[in-house]
């Protein structure tokens, strides 16, 4: 019964199929648990050693991961795994060595600080000095970050090696350094960041490879976070300026992407005084991809500058809202909506409103959609007085040939109605647009309106629901339009019924539903059954209740199977 776990592992590893070997490898922790400390060292590790040479990358990848798991089983002696992991960290295949680096970090979690200084640091330095395999040096860079903080008196050596690697001729290593320099800075004392890292960061930001330069952008932001305003001004700002003028659009794009975070990191003062200007240039970039991303960042960026400085951005929005590239306009819509919440009302109304209205009539449906969305934000920022200017255009949007645009418009209308909370404004302006959902061709739009109806009824009360709105529903029901529209209207009536009291349900709603129970379309009949059912829960008058029951009873004999089913179901409970 009791198998030798090590033998089982070996047997399974004899398999022909790589995937079975991978599976077996992932079960190693079972073996390790059963073998215990000593045998792990004496049997398992030498066995793994033998695998390194002959196995597929796939299996070694699994091995690298499992070594991290074994470390958790033998936390006190996990350093015995390091020689294996060190070899894996120098492997050719990227995923294998990245996994090995992760596992080394796990092992390090179990080591005492002096072990880190005495074993790990020399190992890192060994990897970093391996001249034949750049893969070792890349892994060394990744290892330096998490372990720097614990390197004790060896910190200086690591710093020195790290900065040395920045001047590597091999681009792969420089790229690794550029990615990690922001991360390692988080663990360093500020003085070292400024003395050691900033000079190499400067150097990397001027690298001949644009790949290296663009990887620096993220790091730039991370370092900016740990410096104070003055330090950022002297160290980081020049690099931002330089990168914004980089000849490679890829670098400018990477910068645009993080610009909002960068603004947050350097603080309001620098953002106000310098970043707005730099960012304006990115927004006017010749490469449209840069503009697209820049405008996207702009929506967040404006939160990190002082409102009074925003008037520098507003003129750009005019340009952006007329950009030849539709994705730019699409993102510009969002910004216009956002920025209106930050600017003085009159100012946005006089400067921005027209752009947004123009965008609502754009040729591109995505632009129109985003414009409709932002119109809501814009209008609620300005207040009810702006509404009457927008409503005609929203109405027009509801006639858009694309249902996505109409759906977005519908949502905007509802949002507005819910924020305005003013029956006067609603009745005069919004309601007429809102009820258009009843007649919309697209089911998406109709159900959108329907789903928000309860909230609207809660806001504008029964008077509106059974007044104006109900008459619209009746209109839809009575006119000879498609059955789907009528079903929709019926469901709307059901929604109304939830929020009215008994007499209203009885006097106003029941007669309508009663008629519908005799509709020639079966689907309408059974929807009516459901609605009638929910009406009956509201109504107290026995006579009416009998009427309802009677009407449903008649449908039990309906020729349509489904109607019959729903009628029976309704009568049962």
């Amino acid at each position: 019964m009791s198998e030798n776990p090590f033998e089982v592992l070996k047997e399974d590893m004899e398999n022909e199929e790589v995937y079975l070997k991978v599976n077996a490898m992932h079960r190693v922790k079972v073996v390790a648990t059963l073998l215990g400390n000593d045998k792990i060292k004496s049997q398992l590790i030498p066995y793994f050693e033998s695998l390194l040479k002959k196995e597929d990358d796939e299996v070694l990848f699994a091995l690298a991961e499992e070594l991290g798991n074994i470390a958790q089983i033998i936390p006190n002696q996990s350093s015995c795994l390091l020689p294996l992991l060190e070899q894996l960290a120098g492997f050719d295949e990227t995923v294998v060595r990245e996994q090995a680096v992760r596992s080394i970090t796990i092992v390090c979690g179990f080591l005492a600080d002096n072990e880190i200084a005495n074993t790990i640091v020399p190992m890192i330095l060994r990897l970093a000095s391996n001249d034949t395999n750049f893969t070792c040096r890349v892994s060394a860079v990744s290892l330096m970050c998490p372990l720097y903080a614990r390197a004790g008196n060896q910190k200086e050596k690591i710093r020195q090696k790290f900065t040395e690697l920045c001047s590597e001729e091999t681009p792969m290593v420089r790229r690794a350094v550029a990615t990690k320099i922001g991360e390692i800075a988080q663990f360093m004392d500020k003085i070292h960041v400024i003395q050691d890292l900033i000079p190499v960061l400067k150097q990397l930001c001027q690298d001949e490879q644009d790949q290296v330069r663009l990887l620096c952008m993220e790091s730039l932001m991370n370092i900016a976070k740990i410096l104070n305003s003055g330090e950022n001004k002297t160290n980081i700002l020049p690099l931002i300026i330089q990168s914004a003028e980089d000849k490679s659009w890829r670098v400018r794009l990477a910068l645009s992407k993080i610009f909002a975070d960068l603004a947050e990191a350097v603080g309001k003062e620098i953002a106000d005084s310098s970043l707005i200007q730099i960012f304006s240039n990115l927004l006017k970039d010749t490469e449209c991809d840069v503009r697209v991303i820049a405008v996207k960042s702009l929506a967040r960026f404006i939160k990190f500058v002082s409102p009074e400085k925003l008037n520098l951005i507003v003129p750009l929005l005019q340009l952006l809202s007329k950009d030849p590239f539709s994705q730019v306009k699409q993102n510009a819509c969002e910004v216009i909506g956002q920025i209106a919440t930050l600017l003085p009302k009159e100012y946005s109304q006089s400067k921005l409103q027209q752009y947004l209205i123009d965008l609502m009539a754009d040729d591109n449906q995505d632009v129109r959609r985003n414009a409709a969305k932002s119109a809501g934000q814009f209008a609620s920022a300005i207040g009810p007085e702006a509404l009457n200017q927008f409503v005609p255009f929203l109405k027009k949007s509801m006639d858009d040939p694309k249902w996505r645009v109409r759906k977005e418009t519908m949502q905007t209308i509802i949002q507005l109605a819910l924020t305005v909370k003013n029956p006067d404004v609603f009745n005069k302006q919004l309601e007429s647009v809102f009820v258009m959902f009843l007649k919309d061709r697209a089911a998406e739009v109709r159900s959108m309106g329907l789903s928000q109806l309860p909230a609207l009824i809660a806001t504008y009360k029964q008077e509106w629901a059974v007044g104006n709105f109900l008459s619209k529903c009746v209109e839809t029901l009575s006119k000879d339009v498609g059955s789907l529209y009528r079903i929709n209207a019926l469901y709307a009536i059901q929604q109304i019924s939830f929020s009215v009291d008994g007499p209203v349900a009885q006097d106003r709603l029941w007669p309508i539903v009663q008629k519908c129970l005799k509709d020639p379309v079966p689907n309408i009949r059974f929807v009516s059954i459901r609605v009638a059912k929910s009406l009956s829960k509201k109504i107290d008058n026995q006579q009416t209740l009998n009427q309802i029951k009677q009407a449903i009873n008649e449908l039990v004999e309906d020729p349509d199977r489904d109607v019959k089913f729903y009628a029976q179901e309704a009568l049962q409970n």
């Binding site: 776990p5 089982v8 022909e16 991978v22 648990t33 059963l34 050719d92 893969t135 681009p171 890829r250």
Partner: protein
């Protein structure tokens, strides 16, 4: 009148090639500089005005313009093209080259750099993206190309020209120049890559002291492709250049080149986009093997190691290459690879893809391969015979079934006794290849049971033990897609 005498004078000094060009120029614009230069009697002293004019034109051509927008700077762009043409024509005039071009190489190289070293654009397709792997008929064209082409042409002619010697050129071809130059190979414009290839090729040929550096930079380029990006448009072109570099290697190969073979050429096979440059890669591999046949076993090992998964087109390519490489291998050196090699082949033959199976069958038409097979009979027969015999009876494709039967006969002819023996003791270890999924699963049951027991024990020993999660299981999406559950497909 003066023009005519000037031209005839040139002819007299043995440079007639300028004439047709000068005439061609006249239809566009008078090649003023050439005419002026022609008047110079002492070629050693170029008059200041001509020099100034020359420098002015170089400077003008160094100005950046937005070539993506045809409506901008129309006049300047026209002027620029004209100047470039004039500068180009000058290269045909040795007198000029020696006295104007060579002394000002710094400015000229700068002009070239300013033009071609640019961030590569993403060429946007007008239509929606087609499916991956679909042939795209409409080539993507960089709108800037018409303006770049003359610069490339100029650069090419500059290097082809014999007058700028190694010493004067060498200063400009620095490491960072080469690195930036290599980055351009990622261009999506095939004509640009063609120029880059030709230029780099000639640079390599001409600048002997820079060769090592160029090779290293190309190495880095391939490392990036293998380890990081997995896609590089210029891989085929770079391999083209490498092919001629490799053919120039001295025998025996230097250590450095062997390392290159092992760390670049072999791993290049595993890159996902390998199809795009496989032809060139194969040529490089074979060139290496022709210099040093002992490398063949490493390549066979690499091919077997990086065998494609779920990509039958690539599998066919690998099979082609494998057969070619095997022919170079010394049979005795192959021993450690024999099991893996024959298992791979039999998997291909028994696999679900007809073309792959067909290619693998071709191996048996090769005499050298049959010699390998015979040399390792004790291993190959027990593996091949039962499987071939079985699928020869059951294979769904008629043509392939016929060739399988033929193969059966061949094997029988090679060694009748070994054949019978192998057929009689069917080794289950090998038959699993053609086993259907249900039986395979049954075979796994025993060992799965063992694992289950062990896991239970582990939990007993350590109550906090978490059961291991294995990535490949029946319910896993890969397993489902490959038909592990339905038993329709044999998983290989």
């Amino acid at each position: 009148m003066q023009n005519r005498t000037a031209n005839s004078k040139q002819t007299a000094t043995g440079r007639p090639q300028i004439q047709p060009n000068a005439n061609a120029q006249q239809t566009r614009a008078p090649p003023q500089m050439i005419q002026n230069m022609a008047r110079v009697t002492d070629p050693k002293h170029v008059p200041k005005e001509i020099r100034d004019q020359f420098l002015k034109k170089i400077h003008f051509c160094s100005q950046p313009y937005d070539f993506n927008d045809d409506t901008k700077n129309v006049k300047e762009k026209q002027e620029r093209s004209q100047y470039l043409q004039e500068l180009f024509d000058l290269l045909k005039e040795p007198n000029f080259v020696a006295n104007l071009v060579v002394p000002h190489l710094d400015l000229i190289v700068e002009m070239i750099e300013k033009n071609i070293f640019r961030p590569l654009p993403i060429l946007k397709k007008t239509a929606t993206n087609g499916e991956i792997g679909m042939e795209d008929d409409d080539q993507l064209i960089d709108p800037a190309w018409t303006h770049l082409q003359p610069v490339y042409e100029y650069f090419l002619q500059l290097i082809v020209n014999e007058q700028p010697d190694v010493k004067s050129l060498k200063i400009f071809i620095t490491h960072s120049f080469i690195q930036e130059f290599l980055e351009l190979f990622d261009s999506e414009e095939p004509r640009e890559r063609e120029y880059l290839k030709n230029i780099l090729h000639r640079l390599y040929a001409k600048l002997v002291p820079r060769r090592k550096m160029i090779r290293k930079a190309i190495n880095d380029c391939f490392y990036t492709l293998i380890h990081e990006t997995y896609k590089f448009n210029g891989a085929a072109e770079l391999l083209d250049i490498l092919a001629s570099i490799i053919s120039g290697f001295a025998v025996p190969l230097r250590e450095e080149h062997v390392i290159f073979f092992k760390t670049v050429i072999i791993p290049l096979h595993k890159v996902q986009t390998c199809q795009f440059y496989h032809e060139q890669l194969l040529r490089c591999s074979m060139l290496f093997l022709s210099k040093d046949p002992t490398l063949a076993t490493f390549l066979v090992e690499g091919l077997l190691r990086y065998w494609p998964f779920a990509n039958s087109a690539k599998e066919v390519m690998f099979l082609n290459e494998l057969l070619e490489v095997l022919e170079v291998c010394e049979i005795s050196k192959l021993e450690p690879l024999i099991p893996k090699l024959f298992k791979r082949l039999i998997k291909c033959i028994a696999g679900p893809h007809l073309q792959v199976a067909d290619r693998a069958m071709c191996f048996f038409e090769n005499d050298y391969f049959l010699t390998i097979l015979k040399s390792y009979k004790p291993f190959t027969f027990p593996l091949l015979v039962p499987v071939i015999a079985q699928i020869a009876d059951t294979h769904w494709h008629k043509v392939l079934q016929e060739s399988l039967n033929a193969l059966k006969t061949i094997l029988k002819e090679i060694d009748y006794q070994a054949f019978d023996k192998a057929l009689n003791n069917k080794d289950p270890k090998y038959l699993y290849i053609i086993q259907d999924a249900k039986n395979q699963k049954k075979d796994r049951q025993k060992i799965e049971e063992k694992w289950k027991n062990l896991t239970k024990q582990a939990i007993q020993k350590n109550p906090n033990f978490k059961e291991p999660v294995v990535p490949y299981s029946d319910t896993h999406i890969v397993g489902e897609h490959n038909g592990l559950n339905n038993g329709n497909i044999t998983i290989l």
